[in-house]
Symmetry: C2
Subunit: 209 residues, 2 copies
Amino acid sequence: MPPKPKTDAERQQLRTLILDAARELFAARGVEAVTMREIAKNIGYSSTAIYLHFKDKEALIRELCDTDFLALASKLHRILEIANPVERMMALGQGYAEFALTHPNHYRIMFMSQRPGCSPEDSKVPQGNAEHDAYAQLKLVVQDVYDKGLFIEELTDTDLIAQTIWAAIHGVCSLEISLANDAWVNWSDISARISLMQQMILRGLIKAA
Amino acid sequence: MPPKPKTDAERQQLRTLILDAARELFAARGVEAVTMREIAKNIGYSSTAIYLHFKDKEALIRELCDTDFLALASKLHRILEIANPVERMMALGQGYAEFALTHPNHYRIMFMSQRPGCSPEDSKVPQGNAEHDAYAQLKLVVQDVYDKGLFIEELTDTDLIAQTIWAAIHGVCSLEISLANDAWVNWSDISARISLMQQMILRGLIKAA
DNA sequence: TTGTTAAGTTAACAGTGTTAAATTAACGGT
DNA sequence: ACCGTTAATTTAACACTGTTAACTTAACAA
């Protein structure tokens, strides 16, 4: 209630207060279901106060999305230390899937919805950086496996390979997130599905030992 | 404007008029972006007239969704005539992907968004029927390949196999639909991605010739 | 000529994201 | 000690959404 010239630190504090409240609500019920007024009420401010710090709801979502990308990359980063490149590649897929299924609503925003015009320059995630960009991490591993001659002969396009591996894991995760509660299909255990997909990647792309 | 007791045929006619208008708009811009008033205006009725024929927007979407499921199954049905079971399985994946990428907004509704409580009994699509249920078709093919002993030894759960194949193809399609316009990734050609995924399924699950 | 009833429309409600206008309080200069 | 200026915040309000209630209109049956 008391308005006064605030220091940058205080401004930043409120900013992250908003972000934290929004993240929690979004993660719990998805972005569509959460209202600006609700976010504001949760932190004891008026809804319009949010607009002093974020252009609109989309900007708020986008910023959270960016931090999620960083969180994913950070989670995957330690996996890059595994020595065996193939093993490392598999562990990366496993870690990715864990992230997706632990934070389904975040994953939804990140990879399952078309956010309009997400140009790389206005994003805070440094593209191509192996430390903060999950796709770059995957490409790195794929390149390593390729350099060691472990992929089957026909495969030469590492971008194509990386995108296919990504699609495979993403397929399991996104299907689980969207349709797990659908009685239509007699779903197998999700961990079994991930495991078989990993096995398929291995047998499908890697030379027989 | 002229209200009079209508025959069932006339009622049905208006029903499908609404459905057709809605389908076109939904397909063009997605369900979220299209408004009930807009649908109504497109067919020269008041927005509330729609509610005489559909409980709410969700019911309208769901009905369209059902016909899309039937359309998919119908498209895939002819593929089932291919004699070679493995070849048939691959063709099924190809046809599925074609459907997804030709009707991205329909595919979105069908497989990429959690419609609340889609219980099978109130749907018009007969579950398990090989003619009208695409998943049943896939399971049929997988079972056939299994019965002929063409999968690698370890694989015994045909449900798990079917779901993994589905996830693989779905992964390529849904990633394309959600993120194709994302400058983040240097995307390979979509047909190459589908092709490699098919190859991965083949090498990953089928016995070496 | 009436009711009655179905088909449709207009008016209205509650809720959304968002913006414009007011309010409040702290600061700097005189 | 006052007084603008200015930043932070709130209240009002707008344009829009899906949806429901209330009303209108026309055709049939008695």
